[in-house]
Amino acid sequence: MLGEAWHAMGANRMRTALTMLGMVIGVGSVVLMMAIGQGAQYAVAQTISTMGSNLYIVISGSTSTGGVRSGGGGGPTLTVADAEAIAALDGVLNVAPVHQGTQQIVHGPNNWSSTVVGTTPPYLEARAWTITDGYPFGESDVRSATRVALIGQTAATNLFGAEDPLGQTIRIRQSPFLVIGVLGKKGQNLDGRDQDDTVIIPLTTAQRKVFGNPFPGTVRLIMVQANSPESMPAVETSVTALLRQRHRLRDGQDNDFFLRNLAAAADSAAETTRVMSVLLVGGIGIMNIMLVSVTERTREIGIRLAIGARRKDILSQFLLEALMISVAGCLIGLVLGLGGALLVNSLTDMAIVVSGAAVLVAFGVAASIGIFFGYYPAHRAAALDPIEALRHQ
């Protein structure tokens, strides 16, 4: 029967090729889309990991004064004491209260606008910052509000050029700061903002000398790092419960803070749906051509029945044809899809990830669709009456 199906396919190459084309395009585009999609996910995951992993950001809540509502971070609801209490919770690795903003920074004749982050030492570990030169500030610097700074690569280049920034003085809002460390390079974050355009200083210094703070002891946001991805849900629950308790919120009262997850899990369900719909189109193409083929070859079926073919012979011939077309189409589509992915990779900087599981799924689904959509036409062919089929012109 394999020979017969093969023969029938070879006998009308144009029809076979066109049928296959549907499958080729279906599988090819799925493989290409998945390679690019997973590549993009991989790139996002890379970027997220530069921002620090397993992070939550707690932002102080909105306030409303005479009907004017401020956005998140507007109200002085979070305190340094809140941060210290969170640090004592199970599953929490690092906690850093943060006060940040954009400031003009001056060094000699140069000046540069950069993000100034006032925080505590655990911030460096939470955000995965490294120190390439010099040393970080410590808890004592935060307690005594010393004027020391860690400078990011972009800010350093713009202020110092080729000069070594270590040991030099920069001015932020007229206050001199001693550069005691240079931060390692991170690149852009998800917004496209340059993470290296940063100056990190002790939280207390930032609040007293740079930003000013009308509510002493409060912060706008607290960065919380869980010790593993698995403990994140538990940390979210316990942080929320703790803050509600500390802020004396009654049941039914809204949180006066926001808890945000930096790395939301990518939704893979959408991907699967897309794969299915593309392959379905290819499968219906197969069914369409097979149905036309059955009508067109009614006489052939009649001749085969007349010389002794059983119904199951006809059924298996047409099923095998559908299967062979879909599998061959799959293989060609796979090769073209992978080739396309490599081409995209070489022409652009886009990351490409080809997973064996994705390829197997595309292949399995395509083959099943071939059988599924091949069955109906095959069944129709096999149900023909010999004499009726022979009379067909």
Partner: protein, 236 residues
């Protein structure tokens, strides 16, 4: 008396039409002994082709019995009928009915595919039958490359490839000129001499003259059954 090759009893066939059931064959009785050469004759619409399709197990009867070498095939299921068509009967059509995109050898070997024969055995048998009808040199050609008479010889080779004892032909010379027709009829005569029972449908008297016996149909009934008069020099 030995069991006849073919015996039909009250065989009838009706077709459902818009105007109600149309009886194409109104219950006929006939016996054909093994080794006979019989011509079925009659005008268009006489029921002779319907009768032939029933004999070839291509169609199923509405009523009556059909004994093929003693076995009642009127009661068989689809797969059993397929086996009968494959093993017991060779059928030759007016329109040759070769598969256009297959080589002559593959066409002739096709019944063996459904008989489950090995590839090598199929090749050998197909070549042998092609040689028997004088077309061994054309084994690899496509049907469209040869003449109508040659195509009909290929169709005969295909009908013979499973060594059936019964050869049925429905107007085998209907699409051929008189010279080629005679060549085809000579082949049927030769096969009949080798012991194969031959039944053919025709409406031409000079074709029927090759047979030993002529059965005439009219309006779905047998109206005549007689030996061929031994006068024509064309006879076998």
């Amino acid at each position: 008396m030995p069991e006849p090759a073919i015996r039909v009893v009250g065989l009838g066939k009706s077709y459902a039409t818009a105007a109600g059931d149309f009886p194409a064959l109104k219950g006929v009785d006939l016996a054909i002994a093994a080794g006979e050469f019989v011509a079925i004759m009659g005008p268009s619409g006489s029921g002779k082709s319907t009768f032939m399709n029933l004999l070839g197990c291509l169609d199923t009867a509405s009523c009556g019995d059909y004994f093929l070498t003693g076995r009642n095939v009127a009661r068989l299921t689809g797969d059993e009928l397929a086996a009968v068509r494959n093993q017991t009967i060779g059928f030759v059509f007016q329109g040759f009915n070769l598969l256009p995109r297959m080589s002559l050898e593959d066409n002739v070997a096709l019944p063996l595919v459904y008989a489950g024969a090995e590839r090598a055995a199929r090749r050998a048998a197909a070549r042998q039958q092609l040689a028997r009808v004088g077309l061994a040199d054309y084994a690899a050609s496509l049907p469209s490359r040869i003449s109508g008479g040659q195509q009909q010889r290929v169709a005969i080779a295909r009908a013979l490839v499973n060594s059936p004892r019964l050869l049925l032909a429905d107007e085998p010379t209907g699409n051929l000129d008189s010279h080629t027709s005679e060549e085809i009829m000579r082949i049927f005569c030769d096969l009949n001499r080798e012991g194969i029972t031959v039944v053919l449908v025709t409406h031409e008297n000079d074709i029927a003259a090759f047979a030993q016996r002529q059965v005439r149909f009219r309006d779905g009934l047998i109206v005549g059954d007689a030996p061929t008069p031994r006068t024509a020099d064309a006879a076998c």
